[in-house]
């Protein structure tokens, strides 16, 4: 019994100290991001990496999400003769919820993993120590550009995902379910409010920050060669995916909770 309690206690303490370390890392990273020197070239490279090269995977995710949403809500709503709501359901679900969350999860897998692996490898091969000896702060050089690029580019990606997702719904609605094109479009706009899109983009910015932060954090503190880098990569993806889901709820509650 005491052993069990001790084990629970140890896990709890480890959990708290982990939170403490992530918080300290976050504070340090943010404070270095807002103070010079800045590295615009590196920022640009990360923005291209995150924003441009994630477009195909995010676009594919969005179009199929929009399509399946139209299909599902049509057949479901037909049970109580509310087929007309399909366009509204698609646009609200995509902008508020599905585009930011699904794009976030895809980017977590793509960007979070690669950041953790890259920075982790730099850690275990002493490249991060080398940066310090060459009078370059590793936070400013490695972490800040990634953090900034993630926070700036995710909203842009999600905005594009919004458009593509709604378009996916439109294709299914008009070409498969027989909606009139003009009606579908007007239904899409009818109940859409700026806050729906804004809340989604806010989520995207927070998710972008979380993904890059946890990618950098796990890479930065990775230990012990290939295995350590592998563990760091896994942790980066899993922890940022969980944080995305948690913060998705919190931000939704903030915007729309009564």
């Amino acid at each position: 019994m005491t052993n069990l309690l001790a084990a629970i206690g140890r896990v709890f303490i480890a959990f708290l100290s982990q939170i403490g370390r992530v918080s300290a890392f976050t504070a340090l990273a943010v404070s270095h991001t807002v103070r010079p020197p800045f590295y615009p070239r590196l920022l640009l490279r990360q923005m291209v990496e995150i924003g441009y090269y994630s477009l195909p995977v995010v676009g594919l995710t969005a179009i199929f999400t929009g399509m399946v949403l139209a299909l599902q809500s049509y057949s479901g709503f037909a049970r109580f003769s509310a087929e007309g709501a399909v366009a509204t359901v698609v646009v609200l679900s995509v902008t508020r919820e599905l585009a930011p969350v699904l794009a976030g999860l895809m980017v977590a897998g793509r960007i979070g993993a690669s950041m953790a692996a890259e920075i982790g490898t730099m850690r275990v091969t002493e490249q991060i120590d080398a940066l310090t000896t060459l009078s370059t702060n590793p936070f400013k050089y490695l972490v800040s550009p990634r953090l900034l690029a993630g926070t700036l580019m995710m909203p842009l990606l999600v905005l594009i995902a919004d458009i593509i997702g709604v378009f996916g719904g439109y294709i299914v609605g008009v070409y498969k379910l027989g909606f009139n094109s003009a009606t579908y479009i007007s239904r899409t706009w009818e109940y859409l409010e700026p806050l729906d899109v804004i809340s989604g983009l806010t989520k995207a910015a927070v998710f972008g920050f979380m993904i890059t932060l946890l990618g950098c954090y796990n890479g930065y503190y990775s230990r012990g060669g290939a295995q350590g880098v592998g563990a760091a990569t896994t942790n980066a993806v899993v922890s940022s995916a969980i944080m995305i889901l948690v913060f998705n709820y919190l931000i939704t509650a903030l915007f729309f909770g009564q």
Binding site: E126, A130, L134, T136
Partner: protein, 258 residues
């Protein structure tokens, strides 16, 4: 002469990781322009000592003075100033694999000293020539070079900013005996040409004999012998004798348990 403080002074430096004591009261003084080599078995704390001086690790106790100035616990900005005096050759090279060879060499100039790229590039190619590398290799990536060439690039990077103090972490590890001798000669030449102070750690005795003015032996967290390099054969210290002749039998018992 007596008014000039030694370049590096370590006084009673202690460092442990959890219950494991790694440095247990290190005292060492390195004069201006002198080359000191610290020898010792694997895991005796040689790298930890170097990282304490560099400020990558913080000792729990003791003082480290560079040019008479205390560096333990100084602020980040002052640390940057001290760091400019240092050059470091890492054991594995620690070259940035995302940058070309010449960009690696010029890194300290461009990022650390904010020098214009074109000028830094010229200096980088000069330094590469100094370590016997052609201009063509400057435009390759580090992964395209052999181990010996990577070591040369790392050496060129370490000396690129004309540092007053250069640290060499196992400069010959992983090289064949001839390439090791080439690197040793380059180290001697570079250090003497620049009038730099050098502190090296190694367990390669051929390397130690060649590059050292003085040799210190680290064992169980303490320097058990310090003396001129030519006296190493006649130290009269059984620990030193066993180490430099590489005997299994002697006062040093290998701990086979981790």
């Amino acid at each position: 002469m007596t008014s000039v403080p030694p370049k590096i002074v370590l006084t009673d430096v202690h460092k442990s990781f959890g219950p494991k004591v790694v440095l247990d009261g290190i005292n060492l003084s390195v004069a201006r322009g002198e080359s000191v080599v610290v020898i010792g078995g694997s895991g005796t704390g040689k790298s930890v000592m170097l990282k304490c001086i560099l400020g990558l690790l913080r000792p729990e106790h003791g003082s480290i003075r560079i040019d008479g100035e205390e560096v333990v616990g100084i602020r980040a900005r002052e640390r940057d100033q001290v760091m400019r005096k240092f050059g470091m050759l890492f054991q594995g090279g620690a070259l940035f694999d995302s940058l070309k060879v010449w960009e690696n060499v010029a890194f300290g100039l461009i990022q650390g000293q904010r020098m214009a790229r074109a000028k830094a590039r010229d200096i980088a190619f000069d330094k590469l020539a100094q370590v016997g590398l052609s201009a063509a290799s400057g435009n390759l990536f580090p992964s395209e070079l052999s181990g010996g060439m990577q070591k040369r690039v790392a050496l060129a990077r370490a000396i690129a900013t004309n540092p007053e103090i250069i640290f060499f972490d196992e400069p010959t590890t992983g090289l064949d005996p001839i390439m090791a001798d080439v690197i040793n000669s380059l180290i001697v030449k570079c250090v003497k040409d620049m009038g730099a102070t050098a502190l090296s750690i190694t367990h390669d005795m051929a390397s130690a004999r060649k590059i050292a003015d003085r040799i210190a032996m680290l064992y169980k967290g303490q320097l058990i012998w310090v003396g001129p390099a030519k006296d190493i054969e006649s130290s009269g210290n059984p620990f030193v004798d066993q180490f430099i002749h590489g005997r299994e039998q002697g006062p040093i018992q290998m701990e086979l348990r981790a």
